[in-house]
């Protein structure tokens, strides 16, 4: 098998897709979170500022989802088809919520009527919450494994997806994004909405820590295969400890009113939680919870070496470009939000 720097191609793609999904979680995570706390702002002015804090960047953030999904399709087509078709309804609802969210942002400012704006405010907030919950629900199910038989065929029922563990992960992801988003908004705002956000960030971070502890316990007890890696490689336990320390640092930053640090910490938290998930999976991408032969490994699912190699070249050229656009975009819109005539 082809290797680059001693790492085989499917593993490179496992890492790359992990990086893309982490990028998506960090970037879209804060604008989803900003949406999820949107209705906590009462004043029209505050809502406009909050919306315009993410206005120029949310579309660019969503690019990471599109690239991540495209990369999964290209590198591991079997996994792409299996995950999306097995989790058909959650994904369809996710798409519906994505559409609603996009048009809420776009349409809200187009009319002056109070009911119009209220309608799109509610739609924006609700769709942001629903997207976060569904991402968590999908993640929760992937952690537990899908009901796949030895031929990777789906043998479960729809309602199995709405189990307590998956719902717990869903709420945890929502809490993470709300905390993450409120800290982003704090960095972009001043005055009244800033003060309001400090309270929101304080509460959402407490809520997240509660969820974090609960999910960690539940994972240890009910999903032992996710922690098996620590028994084989105790050194990796350091990553779990790092995650705990970073999470504590979020609280510390908020108490010390160092919101930028808090935001960076919650970004790292998002990445670390996904790394822990990836470590539990590797070398599989999809686990079966009914038959170990149903697991789908990266080697079984991978596209041809030629294709993986070509696309890796694309990634090497393309990812620095994408990163440059992202940085340029955030740099252009740095600083506190000012409402102008072309704002939302």
């Amino acid at each position: 098998m082809d290797t680059i720097l001693g790492i085989d191609l499917p593993t490179w793609w496992f890492l790359l897709i992990g990086a893309l999904i982490s990028g998506y979680g960090i970037l879209d995570g804060f604008d989803l979170g900003a949406g999820a706390v949107h209705l906590f702002f009462r004043k029209e002015e505050s809502r406009r500022i909050a919306l315009n804090a993410i206005g120029p960047v949310w579309d660019g953030n969503e690019v990471w989802l599109v690239i991540g999904a495209g990369a999964l399709f290209a590198a591991f087509p079997l996994v792409y088809g299996t995950i999306l078709s097995v989790l058909y309804l959650p994904f369809i609802l996710f798409l519906v919520a994505i559409i609603f969210r996009a048009i809420s942002i776009e349409f809200r400012g187009k009319e002056d009527m109070k009911w119009w704006r209220k309608l799109w405010d509610v739609s924006f907030c609700a769709s942001s919450i629903v997207i976060s919950l569904l991402l968590g629900l999908i993640l929760g199910n992937l952690i537990q494994g899908l009901p796949l038989n030895a031929n990777h065929e789906f043998v479960g029922r729809l309602r199995d997806f709405f189990n307590p563990y998956a719902l717990l992960v869903a709420v945890t992801v929502l809490a993470l994004f709300m905390m993450h988003g409120s800290m982003y908004l704090i960095m972009k705002t001043e005055d009244r909405i800033f003060t309001r956000l400090t309270i929101i960030a304080n509460n959402t971070s407490k809520f997240f820590i509660l969820c974090f502890v609960a999910t960690s316990m539940a994972t240890l007890i009910y999903v032992p295969h996710m922690t098996a890696i620590f028994k084989q490689h105790p050194a990796l336990f350091g990553i779990a400890i790092a995650a705990v320390l970073i999470v504590l640092n979020i609280r510390r930053s908020i108490e010390k009113r160092q919101y930028q640090r808090g935001f960076i910490s919650s970004s790292i938290t998002t990445a670390l939680l996904l790394i822990l998930f990836a470590m539990g999976l590797y070398p599989n991408l999809v686990l079966s919870n009914v038959d170990p032969r149903g697991h789908i490994s990266i080697y079984e699912a991978a596209s041809s070496d030629a294709s993986l190699r070509t696309m890796l070249l694309f990634a090497v050229i393309g990812m620095p470009l994408v990163a440059t656009y992202t940085v340029f975009m955030f740099w252009t819109f740095r600083g506190k939000v000012k409402i102008e005539d072309h704002s939302y």
């Binding site: 206005g55 399709f73 591991f76 559409i99 048009i103 187009k110 065929e153 294709s307 252009t332």
Partner: protein, 456 residues
């Protein structure tokens, strides 16, 4: 055809047809925006800046819906067509991933600057952002059409595995990208997009001219768009012909369906319009005898393989549908050429904007490229049936095994409901922006503090 297949096909056709309204508009409009803003930078004429700002707002509306409905398409390959995804992931997936990384990222990042960067970056950087967004949308179409063209005329691959486990593997990446129909189909689609965008500008401008509102802006925009449209309409004649040649060579069944040609091997007629009775294998209508033979072989008597030369199970079923959509596309293409050339002549005679009936025609002509793009797409996709990958994978074998009919039905109802609502809102807001018109800067000093009631 079982229910899952039927419903999944309806869902895919519906969601892609709806999506396909918007990207062509944003591609065409993007090019018009580059011209407008370029003219502003060159002439420093405020009029062009106001024009650019006005059309950027409409662009944003169209782009937003295009992105939201486009994400649906990407995921639908996995949700509804999992077997297809596995079969073509090596190829189609890489084209899709390339689209994301090389095109979509470019458009989306610079769209923020295009929309909100007016006071944040210099006019030059803003213009650069406009150019990059337009380029991004053009590249985006490139990769999508490449992926689709591979399904029409596969090349640069080999098949590995058997039955449901079979999959296509790239053997030659560039042969896959430049498969026999990529260039012809891409140029055809791209020009179709230029027509869609420029005719939107023409329609809105013509309406202002008729209403005697914003006449200066409208005439300037009309001239820009008319040139884009006229060159595109003529160009479409060339790419259309080239595309037909490719179909003739690589997809004989589709060509036969396009002209309702049944005989196993006989000279084929070219219909201007007509009706196909597929059951009795009869095509009636206004025709040039041997016309298709002449176009293909430059000889009226050369035989062309008809549908009967193809195994029944490999023939497209909806022959009359393919025939009608194809002929409608061609008829519209011809109309657009006549319309734009005649208008250019009147522009040269300095009578264009006084010819009120022609302005009224342009107001409604916005629908023509849209219809042509849609029916052209149906011709290409329905004409390819029963194959999803021509000659390799049947549509009926491409489905997700895990999905049940009732789930697809539920999602189809959901999408229908949302898209109908979305379309109504789109028309309402588009109309509102058009009614409002460009903001004209009468009091220069108020510019920065002015609050625009529509945008605020």
């Amino acid at each position: 055809m079982d229910n899952v297949e039927l419903l999944s096909r309806i869902q895919f056709a519906f969601t892609i047809a709806f999506h396909y309204i918007y990207p062509p508009l944003s591609i065409g409009l993007g090019v018009c925006l580059v011209v407008m803003e370029g003219l502003y930078l060159k002439t420093k004429n405020k009029l062009y800046e106001e024009l650019t700002r006005f059309w950027v707002r409409i662009f944003a509306l169209i782009f937003g819906i295009g992105v939201a409905t486009g994400i649906v398409m990407e995921f639908e390959f996995g949700t509804n067509w999992a077997t297809y995804s596995r079969y073509v992931g090596d190829i189609f997936g890489s084209a899709l991933a390339a689209e994301g990384i090389f095109a979509f990222a470019l458009e989306s990042a610079f769209l923020g600057i295009l929309l909100f960067g007016w006071n944040k970056v210099s006019p030059r950087v803003h213009f650069m952002a406009t150019v990059l967004v337009a380029l991004g949308s053009i590249f985006s179409a490139l990769w999508i059409v490449v992926a689709n063209s591979w399904q029409q005329t596969p090349s640069g691959y080999r098949i590995e595995g058997q039955g449901m486990k079979a999959r296509a593997i790239v053997t030659d990446f560039w042969a896959m990208v430049f498969n026999p129909s990529s260039v012809e189909r891409y140029s055809h689609v791209l020009i179709g997009a230029l027509l869609a965008g420029s005719f939107l500008v023409l329609s809105v401008s013509a309406w202002y001219i008729l209403k005697k509102q914003h006449v200066g802006h409208a005439q300037a925009a009309f001239k820009i768009a008319l040139w884009v449209a006229a060159v595109s309409a003529l160009g479409q004649l060339v790419t259309g012909h080239k595309s037909a040649e490719v179909v003739t060579k690589y997809q004989p069944a589709k060509l036969a369906a396009m002209e309702g040609h049944f005989e196993k091997s006989a000279p084929a007629d070219m219909y201007l319009m007509g009706w196909v009775n597929a059951k009795e294998q009869k095509t009636m209508g206004l025709k040039i005898p041997g016309g298709l033979s002449f176009l293909v072989h430059q000889d009226f008597n050369q035989p062309i393989p008809g549908l009967n030369s193809i195994k029944p199970e490999n023939r497209p079923t909806a022959v009359n549908f393919v025939f009608q959509t194809y002929h409608l596309m061609v008829a519209i293409g011809m109309t657009l050429i006549a319309l734009t050339l005649f208008s250019l002549y009147l522009l040269y005679r300095k009578k264009l904007f006084e010819t009120r009936w022609l302005m009224s025609v342009f107001v409604f002509a916005v629908l023509l490229p849209q219809i042509a793009n849609q029916v052209g797409w149906y011709t290409a996709e329905v004409g390819r049936q029963p194959w999803v990958v021509y000659g390799l994978l049947r549509t009926s074998n491409a489905l997700s095994q895990a999905v049940k009919a009732e789930h697809v039905l539920a999602s189809l109802i959901l999408f229908t409901f949302i898209y109908v609502m979305l379309f109504a809102l789109f028309l309402y807001l588009l109309n509102k922006k058009i009614q409002h018109g460009p903001d004209v800067d009468t009091e220069q000093e108020e510019t920065s503090s002015r609050m625009n009631p529509v945008l605020s």
